[in-house]
């Protein structure tokens, strides 16, 4: 199995180089020059030329490409044009915000979606099943930004229960500075025994969390349902019933295990959708994560930032998929070389 992992890692590196190449091509096609933007007030042609030379933007394209690869290989992502900080620093500052949001969403989706799917399958073709399936179809049709704004309208505009946007109220942040241990505000505020900060962080994360969760819940629920319906026709499920195993046990242990492999694949895919969805959700809720960062970077031609984050996101996504593939071995004993 180690050989398999090594093979996959090599493949991953190859794919990442491909991703890099595509990103390079994209960011260097743009006619508008980032240099002017960086230099701010009307720069002279000499200043521009000097800056270009410094950034290596006046070299022939293929040379730039090689330099580019070399820099990335050494971990030099450069400084963001917009923040003037190293891109790596930008990413690390904003990373955990996105991780907190997407991870919580993933957990919610699994904890809610799978049982709903199982219930739907067990009572296949009953009114409950039809209801769940209808909800799923509807849920997928609602655009993420629409759902987000709807939630804002309801819970902030109309009911006034929850904040509009952001990760924490600035007033709370000032008065309750808690040490950033993990970068996950919910965890850190608990570790610092600060209930006010925790409540504030929780209040702020609820709406973006619901937005992301609801958008991707249907896929997991439906996939679970369809896979379970098939699994329930298996002979070994009948054997389990024949020995009087309680229903709940049979559904959630015996039958569900059979669905895990395809289900894991869908969960991996869902994580990708969550990363994409986070881009929109962070935009709507002004969430200081990588999603909003990458949108700004790309729309404002912040090359180093754009390259850095794109590469990072692609690597993260590939890693998740690799982990999912490795989990297959854990789940299905037939795959392990005896």
């Amino acid at each position: 199995m180690t050989r398999y992992v090594v093979q996959r890692l090599i493949l991953m590196v190859g794919t990442l180089i491909g991703v890099l190449t595509v990103t390079f091509v994209l960011t260097h096609i743009l006619p508008g020059s980032p240099v002017e933007m960086m230099l701010g007030h009307r720069p002279t042609p000499d200043q521009i030329a000097a800056a270009k030379h410094q950034l290596g933007l006046d070299l022939p394209l293929w040379e730039q490409y090689l330099r580019f690869l070399g820099e990335i290989g050494r971990g030099h992502f450069g400084n963001s044009f917009l923040t003037s900080q190293p891109v790596i620093q930008d990413i690390s500052q904003r990373l955990m915000a996105t991780v907190e949001l997407t991870t919580l969403a993933m957990i919610s989706i699994i904890l809610i979606g799978v049982p709903i799917g199982v219930l739907s399958a067990v009572k296949a073709n009953s009114p409950i099943d039809h209801f769940v399936r209808s909800l799923s179809v509807a849920g997928v049709a609602l655009p993420g930004f629409m759902l987000g704004m709807l939630l804002q309208m309801t819970f902030y505009g109309w009911l006034g229960w929850l904040p509009l946007q952001g990760r924490m109220a600035s007033t709370v942040l000032l008065d309750h500075a808690f040490p950033r241990v993990t970068g996950l505000y919910l965890v850190d505020s608990l570790l610092a025994h600060d209930p006010i900060a925790f409540r504030d962080a929780a209040a702020h994360i609820v709406l973006p969390l619901i937005t992301l969760t609801l958008a991707n819940l249907p896929l997991v629920a439906r996939t679970t349902r369809n896979l379970m319906v098939e699994a329930l026709t298996e002979d070994y499920v009948r054997t389990a019933f024949a020995y009087g195993l309680p229903r709940r046990n049979v559904y959630f242990r015996y039958a569900l295990k059979a669905t895990l492999i395809p289900l894991l694949t869908v969960i991996g895919l869902t994580y990708g959708y969550l990363l994409g969805g986070a881009v929109v959700a962070e935009y709507v809720f002004d969430w200081p994560g990588i999603g909003s960062y990458v949108v700004r970077a790309i729309t404002q031609s912040d090359y180093p930032a754009a390259v850095g984050v794109t590469l990072f996101l692609a690597a993260a996504y590939l890693t998740i998929n690799l982990i999912v593939d490795l989990l297959y071995f854990l789940v299905d004993p037939r795959l392990r070389r005896a």
Partner: protein
Amino acid sequence: MTAEALNLDVALPRKVTFAARALHFAGQNVLFVVGATLFLAIVLAAIFAPLIAPYDPIAINFADKLSPPCLAHLMGANELGQDIFSQVLYGARTSLMVGVVVIGLAIAIGVPIGLLSGYFGGRLDTALMRISDVFLAFPPLLLPIAITASLGTGLTNAMMALAVSWFPWYSRIVRGAVMRVNSELYIAAARAMGVSSARIMLRHALPNSMTPIVVQGSMDFGYAILAAASLSFIGIGAQPPTPEWGLMAALSRDRFLDDWWTVAFPGLAIFVTVLAVNLVGDGIRDILDPKHQSSH
């Protein structure tokens, strides 16, 4: 031993009339029928938009600025006084076109690649699949954002970007079908007889992959519309004055708390359209792909 002894007892199904069958179909596939009806309504609305729309969608009229839904403006007006109902109607044209173009392009790119990859196999296959992997490595919206950002914003570029990030799915489907067909004996026979590769691919491999492509395409149609609207919302897709639902939401974003109709109706339009398309897509899949039939 009478002749009866050899009679094959074939059970005749109960006489089911066409009407009963149609009703049974409708009953089993209620959602599909609802979706198809909705979809038809939307298509008609799009086609006859110029006739139905009470106003020119881009006509500015400050007098009616931000009026809530009323008789003169069924869905209200935005901050430029433009009639939202008319914009929504014209937006239907845009969205339907987006769906067709994106899926069409994705299929147009993906199918040939899949055919070549599956049929010739070997290094060509590996190379093409590795390239596809690169496109699949980008989390969903990221590549379209990057592509449109570099090529420039605008609906055309957004559509091309979406197609480019989606074609790998279709090439995979086709490749799989081709590889399955390839191993059939009659293909070897055809090749032995000297039939050209192109002919074999087109006449045998392609028809076999039609069903999964249709199923996938009908399901992706809705996602394409959603993705394009999301891109427009972030400011990367359609640009003013194109009537596009996501763009409408983006332009009125700051006002939506007070003037909810400026954002609610475009959003509702997206929801209803994608819902209809998905219902139809699900129905098509249920009909064409017997594995998915739940009750039978």
